[in-house]
Every structure is written in structure tokens, then in C-alpha cells.
Amino acid sequence: MSDDAKLPDPMEALLSAWPVAHRPELDWEAFADATVTHAFADDHPVADDLLEAPPLDPEEGEPSKPRLAAVPSVDDDELSLTDIAKASLEDDDPEEARELAQLAFSHAHRERVSRPSYPDVPRTSEIRATPRPPVPVENAAPQAEVVSLESHQSSPASRRTGGGGRWGLAVAVLGIAAAAAIVVFRPSQGSAPATAAAPPITIPAETKGEPAKASPGEQEVAMAPQSNVAAPSLTVEELKPEAPSAAAPKLALTAAKPAAAAPTPPATAAAPEQEEPDDPRLVPASQAGNVPLEPSTGAALAAVGRVMGGAKACVAGHSGPSNATITFGSDGKVQSVGISGPAAGTAAESCIRNALSGARVAPFAKPAFTVRVPIRP
């Protein structure tokens, strides 16, 4: 129950533990004996309507169709993804859609946690991290502009660098302009490689999405020769190996040569992450601590639900429900378990604590995440 409908504490206490009217135990014994005697003596038939659902009027505003609990409870484990999908097709209420989404996420999380690992099947992150072989640039096409744009749209490296993509596009345009200028103003050079003529274009280190650095960190980038093979590649070469800066090497993208048939040496550059694996900016997101801010409530409840059986066993025979406040640490393990209600201060408290400490959620970014669950006998 959400706190917005919480009553004053004395009222809450009385409501959750309202005593049965006091009477001596012997009275209850006599009452039970009389009841059994009546039951065995009575032979009146029982009307069917007594055994059916009580005829209660639906409350105004009450959901008229089967509705899922506001917060996924452990009972929702019984719903399959098929049930959720069917419910979502029948449902146009945004609030219920949100609940269904929570449930679906909860299921997805459970499946992710319980999914067996297949060592022979590479994970997507592993495929991304695998260095690609250099792409030969023979039959280099003159359409450097087109290839550059394709590179921007599909290169994983450019996607990862974020704002650097825009810089790359700007560099590409400038490079084309420079190449065009060379062709127009220096026609006598014929098929001379454009790389030799194109002046390097200096851009700040922001290319990779970082704040501008001082001049030693600046990078010189020129247009790269492009191939007409399918895989987009901005060929990276070190134009100035004599540059002393190791932390910020001067990289250059050599401009495409307009000559069509001339064989070109294969590009030797690899993906940026292969060249600079230590650069945190280039580490794949999956390796850079890309965890959710906090687990979903559904995921946390599902995790608690998996160990709830043990906790319930601890309170067997208790008169009323106890409450457990479970705090998960950012590593997904249970940090602390607080118990209130009838089990508090009894042997059941440590029993519950031990049982619930086995719950696990996926790691998350926040320092802690807390859920509160009732433990009913």
C-alpha cells in the first residue's frame, strides 16, 4: 500500500491488529462444541447462493475488467509473458499499460537473470570489441563525400564517439573542399595523391566528445581515402609519427585519391578501440559500467519473491503479517533487512533476515535501493 493513504499510527496499529472480542478460552471451547453439535444435528440443505461470490455492488470508479495489481507482487510471477501480451492488447488505459510494462520488464529481468550462458555463442559486446580486419582500399572510388556520410551513419566507432560525429562531418566537408581546391588550382599534379597536397586540417580534441585541450593535444585530421567496399571505413593513419605526444596522438584521415584504377596500399588502421584500448572514451558501453540507475520495483520484488518461501516458513503460526524492509546495495546484493510487526524481536526475525538476504538484483548505479514487503504467515 502506498504511503499516500497511510493513516495516523495508532489507527494503523489498531487496524492491522484489531483484537478479537475478548472472552474466556473456555467460552470459545463451549462455543466450538455447540457449533459441532449443531452441524451434525442440522440437516437443512444449503442454498447455492451462500457458496457463491458475495453480491457486493461494484464501487464507483472500480476497474470493470480484470486488472493487474498496481505494483507487481510476487503473485505476478504466475503471469506469463503471453498473459501480459494478451492483456496489453485488450488494454487502452495508459495507467494499466504502465503496469503491464512494469510486469513485462520484471519478466524480462527474471529471464535475463535465469538465462543459461552459452559459452560457444559470442555476446554482442564481444563482437563489437573484436577488432575488424583492415579493409583494402584498392579500387578506391572518387566519391569520398558519399562514403564519408555512410561512415557517419553506420560506423560503430562514430556512433560511440557521440558528438564527434558532427566534427567528422565538418572535417569531411572541409576535406572535400580542400581536395576540390587542389584539383582546380593545381591541375598539373595529375594523379598525385591528394594526401600529399591536402593540408592537414586542425581540429580540437573535442572530436571525441571531450572539452578542447591545449594545442599539444590538438589533432590534425584530413580526408581519408575511401574504398567502395561495403564496410564503411575512415582510414586512420599517423601522418606525423614524429609528433611527441603519446597521450593525444596526431591522427589524420587521408583524403581519397580521385584516380580510379591505381592500386592503393591496404589501409593499415584498425578500429579506434583497437588502437587505443586504454582510452575510456572508446571503451564499449558494456565495459564502462553501463548499469541502470536503480532496479525496477518489479525486478526487486521478483528477486524477493524467489526467497519469500523461506521467509514465510519463519512466521508460520504467527497471528498477523510482519513487514520486511530490504535494502539492496549497488552490487545487487542485500545490504540490510529490517523487520517490523509480530516477528520483530523474536527468533523469527533472524530467520527472516537470513532467508531474505539471499535475494539478488542486477547491479545498479545508486548506492542503495529499498523495497518493503509484507510477510504473511
Partner: protein, 201 residues
């Protein structure tokens, strides 16, 4: 006899009901002793009358026994019993000639709460305050509709799960959750209008 019952190993409700179906009076007696207080509390909250609550409690067990052959075993015996008790309570309420508007002087809910409190506390000033709390809460419960009151009693007072309450009342669990929340909100509003707020504590 009572002590002898206490020494017996615990049998499940299903085992007791199966034995009672075969005519085992002792097994049925154990079933009655196990649930009679809770059924009485439920009836007392619904009826607000001790004598009527006793009648309904006894009648619920008698009807349950007479209908044992119709218990299909798909639900728990105690939810089946609760359903009979709720139906009997509603029948009693609807057969009354006049509608009761508030707790009576000898309201079994308030008296039950006060007897328990008297044993544990004993301070006259606190007793008066506790009586006011119990009375105010009883009035708040009475201000709810039958639907909300029954649902809130089953879930909050009796501690049944939403699933168990849904089985008793024959509606989805989501409806139970909605009703409980709605009942609490209305109860909160009722109490706030009378100066009982969380901030006022």
C-alpha cells in the same frame, strides 16, 4: 479436551475437511476451533453486533459442514468458509428493518479493542484516548460502502492476501488492490476531517 487437542499434531485444513466429510466430528471440531475467532471478528466488523456475530459464526460452520460435499477442493477450505460467513453477514444486514448508522454503545469492535488495551496499559487517560481511537476508526469503517468495508476488513484487519480476498469475493486481485487503496483514502479523509492526521500526531 482442549489440552488434548493442543497436543495433537497439526493437521492441515484440507485433511480436517476430508476427515469431516467422512463424518469425523473431532476433525471438524478442530477446524472450528482453528477459525472461529477470526470468523467472529469478521462478522463483528461487518455486523457491529456481538449477538448477531455469534449467530453468523456458528451458522457459517454449520452451513459449511452441510455443504462439504460441494467443496471441490480448488480453493483453501478457510477461503470457502470466509465466503459463507460474508454471505451470511450480508444477508443479516439486508434483512434488518432499520439501518445502523454508527457504532452502538456496546459495539463489539470497540469493546474488544478496549479489553485488550486494558490488560496491557491500564492508564485511565490512555484508556480514554484508546477508546476514542477505536471508536473513531470504527466510525470511519462504518462510513465506507459495504464493498470497501468488507474488502478492507479481509485484507487489512484479517491480514489475508489480495489473492485470498479475491478468491473469497470472486473478483480479480487488481480490484482488491484498488478497493483497499480507495477504502484507505476514504478512511484517511474521514479521519482528517475529525482532526486525526499523521501530522497531528
Amino acid at each position: 479436551m482442549y489440552l488434548a487437542h493442543k497436543r495433537m499434531p497439526q493437521r492441515t485444513d484440507r485433511e480436517l475437511v476430508d476427515a469431516a466429510r467422512e463424518g469425523d466430528a473431532e476433525a471438524f471440531g478442530t477446524f472450528v476451533r482453528r477459525h472461529q475467532k477470526r470468523i467472529y471478528r469478521l462478522a463483528a466488523h461487518m455486523l457491529r453486533d456481538a449477538a448477531e456475530a455469534e449467530d453468523v459464526t456458528q451458522d457459517a460452520f454449520v452451513r459449511a459442514y452441510r455443504a462439504l460435499d460441494r467443496f471441490d477442493g480448488r480453493s483453501e477450505p478457510f477461503t470457502w468458509l470466509y465466503r459463507i460467513a460474508v454471505n451470511l453477514s450480508l444477508n443479516t444486514i439486508r434483512s434488518r428493518k432499520t439501518r445502523r448508522t454508527g457504532p452502538s454503545v456496546d459495539d463489539p469492535r470497540v469493546e474488544g479493542a478496549m479489553v485488550e488495551t486494558r490488560v496491557t496499559i491500564g492508564n485511565p487517560a490512555e484508556l480514554t484516548s484508546d477508546r476514542q481511537v477505536a471508536r473513531m476508526l470504527a466510525e470511519g469503517l462504518d462510513s465506507l460502502s459495504e464493498t470497501l468495508r468488507v474488502t478492507l476488513i479481509l485484507v487489512t484487519v484479517d491480514g489475508l492476501s489480495h489473492g485470498e480476498a479475491a478468491e473469497i469475493l470472486g473478483c480479480p486481485e487488481g480490484t482488491i488492490a484498488w478497493r483497499v487503496h480507495e477504502a484507505r483514502k476514504k478512511l484517511q479523509t474521514f479521519l482528517e476531517k475529525r482532526g486525526h492526521t499523521r501530522e497531528a500526531e
